[in-house]
């Protein structure tokens, strides 16, 4: 399928899904919980652009996510623009931070890069915790408008925004996969020396990858203040974001856009269900157990489970 066709199909799926949800679901809680799952689709897809396609493990998801969220807080206090503007600004800002982080840390490989990203998240968190304008460690209340544009109901509107963002990030990931950039990133992931020798500008591609990945994470974070209405550093920079955005592509599969999508839906839904039915503090325990199971049963992720069979069928006898 061509990339343009894929984008069109994604757009149709987004519209149909939203229409169906509006018609079939009467309980607002579905949208409330669905928002979180969709947010994780964006985060997992974003993480996978750097982690899966390029082979650089990022522990700093929460940092990028919170940059988007706090950019929205600042804008809200200054001017109060509509959410799409917040998303745009949050995306640009965290994309730039991603670019800067890339310049500083991409010479590091493997575990050193991972530690660098973790450090970045901590630096940003310390900065925000000490910044009074956005509430510091006390946190900040966001009073959202009584009615939302387009739909009236605010949670429906937020759900739609995040659904569109999820569709956008999946389309972006798939376009990258099936492009020259995707080939280059795969070459970087497999062997950087060989990639350079084949004419691939590895540093440039890695920077593009960190910037795109960071931007998507920031975009996912921008609507957060309106969703939670009270934002403090511990929730904005929650470790769960980093852990989940790594676990979801790992469980789903890292080689294609399908993996993070499946992982996020699977893990996100289980977590949301467990939150209501069992206990809200059980989430990370579930992630841990599922990660162990995934490593044992499906080391290449959920998509890896059916891949080998198809590959065998393709091979000539």
């Amino acid at each position: 399928m061509k990339n343009s066709t894929f984008c069109l199909v994604t757009a149709i799926v987004v519209i149909v899904f939203f229409g169906a949800a509006m018609l079939a679901v009467t309980n607002d809680y579905f949208f409330f919980a669905g928002y979180v799952v969709l947010q994780y689709i964006v985060l997992a897809t974003a993480w996978n652009i750097l982690g899966g396609y390029t082979g650089y493990i990022n522990f700093g998801t929460a940092g990028f996510f919170a940059i988007g969220a706090y950019a929205a807080v600042v804008l809200h206090k200054l001017w109060g623009p509509p959410i799409p503007v917040l998303i745009l600004v949050g995306g640009v800002l965290s994309g730039l931070v991603g670019l800067g982080m890339g310049m500083l840390t991409l010479r590091l490989r493997g575990v050193f890069f991972a530690i660098g990203t973790l450090a970045l998240a901590i630096v940003v968190q310390t900065f925000v915790t000490n910044w009074d304008f956005v509430g510091g460690s006390r946190g900040v209340y966001i009073i959202r408008p009584a009615t939302a544009p387009l739909l009236g109901n605010y949670i429906h509107y937020l759900f739609l925004v995040m659904l569109v963002l999820a569709g956008f990030s999946i389309a972006l990931a798939r376009c990258i996969e099936h492009s020259t950039l995707g080939f280059g990133l795969a070459a970087v992931r497999d062997d950087e020396l060989a990639a350079e020798a084949a004419g691939v500008p590895t540093l440039k591609l890695k920077l593009i990858s960190t910037a795109l990945s960071g931007a998507l994470m920031g975009m996912a974070g921008a609507p957060l203040p309106y969703y939670v209405t009270y934002l403090d550093p511990t929730s904005g920079f929650n470790l769960a974001y980093a852990v989940n955005s790594i676990a979801m592509p790992l469980i789903g599969g890292m080689t294609s856009w399908v993996g993070p999508l499946l992982g996020a839906i699977f893990l996100g839904t289980i977590q949301q269900t467990a939150t209501v039915t069992i206990s809200s503090s059980l989430n990370l325990l579930i992630v841990g157990v599922l990660l162990v199971l995934a490593v044992v049963i499906a080391p290449d992720g959920i998509i890896g489970l059916w891949r080998p069979r198809r590959r065998r069928a393709q091979e000539p006898l």
């Binding site: 080939f183 992931r189 497999d190 350079e196 004419g199 500008p201 590895t202 080689t255």
Partner: protein
């Protein structure tokens, strides 16, 4: 004769206190087939790495096709037409064989002035390259399913896909059988006849001697001989380096 393609002047590289390359002078003319020999640890691979940009040399200069290469990153040198293969094959393991060739075609051949390849041209070029190295049947295979010689051939094909003016083949024949060596040799000679200058780094003397028009010998980071293959192997310094006193 033809022009100088690669000009190395006073090239030096050390790792800490260890001198890997010491004041190397080397001229390679266009269309030449040069063999580079030397005992293990004599600096052959370090020289390749310095020429291709994988390592930064400490002093001296390298000019390629009239352009100074000093400080240029490896990918730009490849785009200028200086390609290399690796001693230990480094395929892109998650890509199929044909996709492995796509990478240099998309990133190198496509970027060269005048050559704007369409995707149909890229596919045709891949097919041609696979045919040259006799890997047509393996186009959709993954590198892990290849044999050792197929891996070497893929490595060569990938270097050739960048449409180089100069190909540095770093020990492409180590560990191969007699007939497999002949296969690769024939491939390199054919490539040379199509106008590509080739530097062959090799331990297998039979291969080097039959391939090279000129032989360069490195010992302990110094160039100790450079000339006709028959003369170089009879050079007393070279004999001493290989066989001892």
């Amino acid at each position: 004769m033809s022009e100088t393609l690669l000009q190395v002047r006073g090239l030096a590289k050390h790792f800490g206190g260890f001198v890997a390359l010491d004041d190397i002078e080397l001229d390679i003319k266009e269309g030449e087939r040069v063999g580079l020999i030397g005992p293990n640890g004599s600096g052959k691979s370090t020289l390749v790495n310095c020429l291709s940009g994988a390592l930064k040399h400490d002093s001296g200069s390298v000019r390629f096709d009239g352009m100074p290469l000093d400080g240029l990153p490896a990918y730009q040198r490849t785009r200028l037409g200086l390609a290399r293969s690796f001693q230990l094959p480094k395929p892109f393991r998650s890509l199929t064989v044909v996709q492995n060739l796509h990478v240099p075609l998309l990133f190198t051949a496509k970027h060269r002035a005048g050559a704007h390849l369409t995707s149909a041209q890229i596919d045709a070029r891949c097919e041609e390259l696979l045919h040259v190295v006799a890997l047509e049947g393996k186009a959709q295979a993954r590198p892990r399913d290849l044999t050792q010689i197929e891996m070497r051939k893929l490595e060569l094909a990938r270097a050739m896909a960048a449409a180089p003016k100069l190909l540095i083949a770093d020990e492409v024949m180590a560990g191969l059988s007699h007939s497999e060596i002949d296969d690769i040799l024939a491939l390199l000679v054919k490539l040379n006849q199509s106008g590509v200058t080739v530097i062959l780094i090799e331990h297998i003397m039979r291969a080097v001697m039959s391939f090279s028009q000129r032989l360069v010998c490195l010992v302990a980071g110094k160039k100790i001989a450079d000339g006709k293959p028959q003369e170089v192997v009879l050079n007393p310094d070279v004999e001493r380096a290989y066989l001892g006193e």
